[in-house]
Amino acid sequence: MNWKNMAAIMAAIYGIMAMLPFFLGKTNFVMHILIMCLIWAVVASCWDLIMGFAGIFSFGQVAFFVIGAYASAIVSNTYHVSPAGAILLAGGFTAAVGILVGLPCLRLKGAYVALVTFAVHMTLEPLLKGDFGRAIGTGGSRGIMAIAPLKLFGVTFSSADPVPFFYLTLIFFIICTLIILFVIKSYWGTAFVALKDSENLAASLGISAFKYKLTVFALTSFITGLAGGFYCHYVGMLSHRLLGVDLFVTLMVMLAIGGIGHYPGAIIGAFITVTLNELLAPLGTYRPLIIGILIILLVLLFPDGIIGLVQKVFTSKADKATKPVY
């Protein structure tokens, strides 16, 4: 897909999103869902960038999100940094962690990367719950109960009044997703795809796998960390429950619906999944069960997601028209 189509799809999605508060702005619950849509869209886009385009099986995106959230909460609670600064610091910290995790992954291939990054995810929970976590201020298994709301230019953005917060999130995350779009369509993105398809050939053409893979780790974890910081100041509380398999798989469903490596798909997938999750909430314990079945069926029946499906419909028509007749 060329970047014009991608930008057009994104403009359409975010344009509709920007209009929605005019109709739904009165119900706080709906606004909450919309804000969560925006936040998860960014996290899913980052995951798509690193897994779909750079071909690195990173399963630590949720861990980076949680690290960003905790870092921002701890910095603003314990060291009394203003939330906006705390979010930036958290992004920087998460990027540093991302580079640390990325370094051993550069020597590894395929499933080993998935293993190391997933192990980061699994290790984070006991660390946050245990004595070490309590010492740095994670609140142990209880979590952090009160986090200061975001304050910018003297205006307080809190979850009590979601419409201004919604627009702030929208602007912020449009910037994030645009950065991802530019990365995908720039020289970088081409280098990623070249590395994914054939690392040896790419290296022979002078593309440094080390440099590009490390940058993509740093960039995606930076943005994911920012999203985590944003999330914690919006929700106002944090617990290690974010690290449950539930959220991890929900993000996976976003990618499955949108299609891995079909970029704006992840954003559409995030919007559909968050809404679906809320709609399925009354089903209680059956909800994750249904999501599990859903992910299996989606991957088996529509492996390229919504974007892939749409592309298929269009290209098959074009193919029929241009196919030579023997």
């Binding site: 099986f57 499933a111 080993y112 699994m122 719950k129 994750p288 088996l300």
Partner: protein, 291 residues
């Protein structure tokens, strides 16, 4: 102090032997088909729950004999079916590795939550396989630990014999070494993939039956097991049964010692440290042959 240390060693040995069994299953399936199975841990819980159900139906009096006779074929069948239905259709795609990860992740979520719905969130316990204990001076070794140790080592040896001496085992090794070559000489790849998946499911399921008597069965137990089995496989070397044996005992001991000295919450951290150190210094693992 001295007696506690002995206890820690025994616990490390018993757990290590079961871990070896599970890691061998994982190394088999990854070595042959390169599929990363996220549902591996859920099959561990599945084994425990199947044993629990059989116990509930047949009563505990008949003991574990019936459980093993019935659950192993059942697990083999489940594994074979899972591979044929949800993994093999993805194989022809170029990006099948990610897709297999996603689909097995979905399966793991489905299985875990089915356990929760069917059996409830309360932990289930299995009766010990043998009662009583052997006492030598002050050292007490329970027959249960000994039985677990012997059964898992016997299973590994049986598995190794199968891999080295049967036609199926030789075909599996051929596919692992060179898939294209194996296909040229007429080895049906799809059947080998499905069979290795089935065998690995049975191995982790038996591991689940063995370990569930010492601990408990609960719906979300499998994730720890998945990471542990992977760490052992990576540490021991992919594709090497001997490597995973040594690695499992080393990690079982490490786990028992770390749990005893620092507390249970540090076990995963210690595993992770071992993993990263191994991959940084010797990425092919202790005895790695391929990959």
């Amino acid at each position: 102090m001295y007696l506690e240390l002995i206890d820690v060693l025994i616990s490390g040995l018993t757990n290590g032997s079961v871990y070896a069994l599970m890691a061998a299953g994982l190394t088999l399936v990854y070595g042959v088909s390169k599929a990363f199975n996220f549902a591996y841990g859920s099959f561990f819980s599945l084994g425990g729950y199947i044993a629990w159900m059989l116990m509930a139906v047949f009563g505990t009096a008949k003991g574990y004999f019936f459980v093993f006779i019935l659950s192993v074929p059942l697990l083999l069948l489940i594994g074979y079916g899972v591979e044929r239905i949800i993994v093999s259709p993805l194989r022809k795609r170029q990006d099948w590795e990610v897709k297999v990860m996603m689909v097995t992740l979905g399966l793991a979520l489905l299985l875990d939550n089915s356990f929760q719905v069917v059996f409830g969130a309360r932990m289930k316990s299995l009766p010990p396989i043998m009662e009583g204990a052997l006492t030598i001076n002050d050292v007490i070794v329970s027959y249960q630990d000994m039985a677990i140790f012997i059964l898992s080592i016997a299973s590994i040896l049986c598995f190794r014999w199968m891999l080295n001496n049967t036609r199926l085992g030789m075909a599996a090794r051929a596919v692992a070494q060179n898939p294209a070559g194996a296909q040229i000489v007429g080895i049906p790849q799809n059947i080998i993939f499905a069979s290795t998946f089935a065998v690995s499911t049975a191995m982790v399921g038996v591991g689940g039956i063995l370990l569930s008597q010492k601990y408990f069965i609960s719906p979300a137990d499998g994730w720890d097991i998945l990471v542990k089995a992977w760490v052992i496989t990576a540490f021991g070397g992919m594709g090497s049964i001997r490597g995973s044996l040594y690695a499992a005992f080393i990690l079982g001991m490490l786990e028992a010692c770390v749990g005893w000295l620092f507390g249970m919450s540090w076990i995963l951290v210690a595993n992770f440290a071992v993993l990263v150190t191994t991959l940084a210094i010797r990425p092919q693992g202790l005895f790695g042959k391929w990959g």
